[in-house]
Symmetry: C2
Subunit: 338 residues, 2 copies
Amino acid sequence: MANATIRDVAKRAGVGVATVSRVLNDSTAVSPTTRLKVQTAIAELNYSPSPIARRLSLGRTLTIGVIAPFFIRPSYVERLRGVEAALSDSEYDFIIYNVETITRRNDCFHDVPRQERVDGLLIMTLTPTDEEVDYFVQSGMPTVLIDSRHHHLSHVMIDDVAGGYQATRHLIDLGHRKIGYISDLLQESPFGFRPVADRYEGYRQALADAGIEFCPEYHRQGELSRREARRLAQELLTLPDPPTAIFAYSDTQAFGVLRAAQDLGLKVPEQLSVIGYDDIEIAEFLHLTTVRQHLYESGVRGAELLLSEIANPLSRPQEIVLPTTLVKRDTTAPPLFT
Amino acid sequence: MANATIRDVAKRAGVGVATVSRVLNDSTAVSPTTRLKVQTAIAELNYSPSPIARRLSLGRTLTIGVIAPFFIRPSYVERLRGVEAALSDSEYDFIIYNVETITRRNDCFHDVPRQERVDGLLIMTLTPTDEEVDYFVQSGMPTVLIDSRHHHLSHVMIDDVAGGYQATRHLIDLGHRKIGYISDLLQESPFGFRPVADRYEGYRQALADAGIEFCPEYHRQGELSRREARRLAQELLTLPDPPTAIFAYSDTQAFGVLRAAQDLGLKVPEQLSVIGYDDIEIAEFLHLTTVRQHLYESGVRGAELLLSEIANPLSRPQEIVLPTTLVKRDTTAPPLFT
DNA sequence: GAACCGTATGGAACCGGTTCCAATCAGGTC
DNA sequence: GACCTGATTGGAACCGGTTCCATACGGTTC
């Protein structure tokens, strides 16, 4: 009763193993009669082929690896959901390498390609160095970046410069001139997240285009958490000349800002406008004005890109840029005194 | 430069493949001299063994499957994080089978065990039928349930009866007598989630113990979403004799209740007490009183249970019950008129 | 009827590990 | 010095698929 093998099937059907294999992969040239015999034998033995043996003889793992700083932000869950959806129709499984420390990041980047565990790599938000990219290319590992960018690798990028611009511009259009920005760590972050620099650039650009001088005091950086954002917002709002609006790098941080406003008795949006980024699920509930990223779609597109890369290893790197959308809700309004 | 095999290493070290294998698995009896020669060769060739070949010859996949209704609740992310942490030290990978429809559930339960893709199965919240359990046992697939229960399978259970009791009891202790309950679908849910029945039982028990008669009108059921919970709460709060407190099956639903209160101009907690369940991250931010489940830990314990089950296939099913904790915040208070 | 061709088919090598089993060797005993 | 024992070691079979290559066969074509 133990699992039947392809040889058992061959014997029972009175054919060779090669023929059974041909039927399984419905490849070329099997006569209808033989095919039927084989299919009957398969059914009778309740046979199903071993994926592992298949992988070994194909020399492919039929698995893709997803490297993600998985849990530190709700947005990753949404991306992974997209990846899962795109892969569930294919013959590929995926395994997740969760990265929460810089050591783990380096281990993943170094080990996963050489262990022959996966046929392709999907990297989220983390940006490999040029050296690391060389290493991927050299080991022939198809690699696709999501929410990150490298000119030697295909990637699905969110246009965070535009997103940062959009957010800032929205505040400017409402009449704000004193616009604070609370972001993730720009320089010191060990992970070097690309969006951090891009959104900042968008912010600066929008200010410049509107002829507003950038005020370094209005830009605060800190670890991406609600608590830290709350602290930074408190600093901003207790300046002698505080901003009338705050753009937060993420919705999570925007919630920290809202809390700081509440602590100080400031009414939102009357006395302070707040805009976030991501449009995670809870943002709608809290009426947060924010910039929506197409998280789910970025996962789908990234996975599709990777599958096509695996199929055609020599294709040139492709770039997909997903737009962002301003979602106006109730936390932004014109400033009190214009 | 293509990947070296164990035979290349053997040749280079001037030993047999069996010896190399012995060094790799640091098994019995290799002389220090030989071991060194082999290790040198491995280093020189930058060799790393193929997990796939290893799996084939071991007859084990070194992979465990996690079947989870993954994304419909933030709580699963937290559980999976625990699973990941517990497995990252082991030689096991895991792959996720996301279940969002009943068809997919059945497919997973049926196909995953027989495809020889995994050495063990971790099932979250979903409860297999007796038939399905027989099938798992018969196919020799070690299976562990998390947040679910079956007497033939090891499982990590949350004591949801106690949790439901705790929540209700807290409201009673504050002086409430009219306590509404908004839950997930009790009967009709195609998935048959165990916690739904258990929390309800805890609710009923607490009422009974306090000598409060259960009022069917105060119990509303609906699909687990904020929107639906908001609608149900609206119904409850516009009853001729509305409840003074509402217990929600999940934090997500509690947020819907809060919104309904806001819509109706009811002050929380002065005019309405609200208690949730789960203690997801955002609950703290919104000052929601809730019942905390040890989500992360449930993932860790479940994975550990499964690993030990894989190691000792004949061990008897174990049960782990995790407690729940009442987390008092700002959405519950004594009723206005006692 | 022989030469030829394309389609079906089976045997066997191969993927890269693990492990059984037999062989070798060093050291100790009588 | 022959013999025994236990520690090392290498060869080869095996895991269960895929696929190259050779063969068999039915049908044309001259």
